[in-house]
């Protein structure tokens, strides 16, 4: 069935484009260390808020040259009270491909120094400028994407077993158990989800390591979504629990848990697939919103949301538009997920196949 879905996805030209876009993004994130010219924490304080580096391929004599760039120099203009950035044209810094730069662990295992592109030691190449701490926005986009684009999936892996089991038990047992469990789920759904999200995030203790915080954010995101999912699963369980094969399993003495997990829940597979693809983007958006407010992933770690935190200042929005790039990446990835989700729903919902 999965194979069939994938084949049909590939047939649709929009879905194919979306799959390719997401594929490129995820590949870039996996090889982030190699593609990024700098590491996540590299910062050059003299280069705060530097605009994107200009890459030249034609030199001052009008001849083709190896690509090179100039460093920016920051000057404070005492008359206009502004900080100006100008190119230091005295020294060319050639862009070098596959050459040695800052050391890192490739895929977390092999220690190497080669980067896709870098420049000489005192040169700086900032494809998308730098932030307030003089950190390369392009590199941080790649590292931040690792968090932003995986946190949704991780939350789903926490949420789905809970929702499935909760909905399964509630629907199968019925009666009082069902009533109590469903009232509780409804109560959770009655709290505006974003309010709950920020409150849960705000009670996290502050002295946590970044990986602990990451895990807790995942759990919080999962806590928001399970109730609605459990309710739908319950409805589906109700509709299949009196089917012959369930009664057969019961009559040969299968335990209740076994009936629920082995016979009833597998019936919900197609719904689960749809729900999963459809809800990934909403988790990406939730995480970015949370981090944008400063309640999610914290500095010095990067996520697309917390990189956008700088866009809260007017001067940044007006004079440093490169700081807005994470927003466009969120937009593109969410759009791609939505397109894929739409197509999968069309494929799985036989009603939409007619005509």
């Amino acid at each position: 069935m999965i194979k069939n879905i994938l084949r049909q996805l590939w047939k649709d030209k929009y879905a194919r484009l979306a799959v390719i876009v997401l594929g490129v993004i995820y590949l870039a994130l996996i090889f982030a260390d190699f593609i990024a010219p700098y590491t996540k924490d590299f910062s050059d304080r003299t280069m705060a808020y530097v605009p994107p580096s200009k890459i030249f391929t034609i030199d001052e004599n009008g001849k083709f040259s190896k690509p090179y760039t100039y460093n920016y120099v920051r000057e404070f203009n005492a008359e206009t009270l502004q900080i100006n950035y100008s190119l230091d044209r005295s020294k060319k810094h050639y862009i070098k491909f596959f050459s040695k730069g800052q050391p890192y662990k490739f895929l977390g295992i092999v220690s190497i120094q080669r980067h896709l592109f870098t420049t000489d030691k005192d040169g700086r190449v900032f494809l998308l400028g730098t932030d307030i701490n003089g950190r390369d926005v392009f590199s941080r986009l790649l590292f931040g994407g690792r968090i932003s684009m995986t946190i949704g999936f991780l939350a789903l892996f926490v949420l789905f077993p809970i929702g499935l089991l909760y909905g399964g038990i509630s629907g199968y047992f019925g009666g009082k158990i069902d009533m109590i469990m469903m009232r509780f789920a409804e109560a959770v759904m009655s709290i505006p989800s974003f309010y709950l999200l920020i409150i849960l995030a705000s009670i996290l203790p502050s002295g946590m390591t970044s990986s602990q915080r990451f895990m807790l954010i995942v759990i919080i995101l999962a806590l928001i979504g399970w109730a609605g999912f459990a309710r739908v699963v319950r409805g589906m369980v109700l509709s299949v629990k009196n089917e012959d094969y369930v009664l057969a399993a019961k009559s040969i003495g299968a335990s209740k848990l076994r009936i629920i997990t082995k016979h009833i829940l597998p019936q919900t597979t197609s719904y689960v697939i749809v729900a999963m693809t459809l809800s990934v983007p909403s988790y990406i958006l939730s995480e970015s919103g949370l981090s944008f407010l400063g309640l999610g992933i914290q500095q010095p770690d990067a996520s697309w949301g917390n990189m956008l935190k700088e866009a809260q200042e007017f001067t940044n929005i007006l004079y440093r538009p490169w700081l807005l790039t994470p927003g466009f990446l969120i937009f593109i990835s969410v759009l791609s997920f939505n397109i894929i989700g739409d197509i999968i729903r069309d494929i799985l919902d036989p009603k939409s196949n007619k005509g």
Binding site: R183, F184, E186, A187, V188, M189, S190, I191, P192, S193, F194, Y195, L196, I198, I199, L200, S202, I203, P205, P281, L285, S288, G289, F292, L293, L295, L308, A311, Q312, F314, I317, L318, L324, G327, I330, F331, I332, V334, L335, N338, I339, D342, K351, K354, G355
Partner: protein, 323 residues
Amino acid sequence: MDTLKYILKRILQTIPLLIIVSMISFFIIRLSPVDPLAELKLNPSVSPETVERERTRLGLDKPVIIQYGKWAISFVKGDLGVTSTGEKVSQKLAERIPNTLLLTSIVILLTWLVGVPLGIIAAVRWRTNFDRLLTVLTSIGMAIPSFFFAVLLLMFAVKTGWFPIGGLTSPNFADMSFGAKFLDITHHLILPVLVLFTISLAGLQRQMRANMLDVLDSDYVKFARAKGLSEGIVIYKHALRNAINPMITLLGFEFAGLLSGAALTEYVFQYPGLGRLILEAVMKSDINLVMASLMMGAVMLILGNLIADILLIITDPRIRSKA
């Protein structure tokens, strides 16, 4: 009579729901390691007597269950305590809730006015270029992070100077005539409404389109067509009535989504609403305020769902006969 009984029953159902919601919120907030009175104690303008009064009111020296009981009783009585700056929580909420309601009801009204017709047109012209175009546009609307869109619009406002930058009123609001006040508020509302409208339009239009497609395929519509009725009558008299009913259920969900979405938008636009209030309260760990606004958010959501359900009971006789 039946309708009334059913509505009454539905209203009574919200009471246990509210109790469970209040318990969940209370225990989540008590999980937090922060001393609920820490901010209050630090504030020099708040007298020690007020702090002491809050301590006994919250029953902080007693077990959690009793604390919950005390809190619940004073909540029902309308006593929500004081904020960390010493103001009354209830007064603060009374200032903010109408603003959020104003924002969300305008957005709901607009999305319905635009989304429902667009959904109908898309369904009637199913799989034409127009339908495809709408699908693409709504996908784009759904994918923009609300806060990012708000930031972009703010950038636009700053650059052009056509719109005020945040807030709900201008500084000289108090001196304005009624008409000028109305215009001033409208002017301030345009951008936040635009953000929320863009985001919620997509869901509504798609739902309407799906409902309409379902209904258009049903036997009675085919029959109406076979009878030779004009396409206009088939669609607007027969199909539309049934397609719109499920939308009323969606109204409750839409309201819920808007409350959440509005929080970030309010924050970016510095709009004095409930969402921003709760955010500020969370940042300052102002427990009384957090608790009260969380509850009010839940109450608003539950009421929204209740209203949607009652509307549905009135418009759809099938639900009454099921009960």
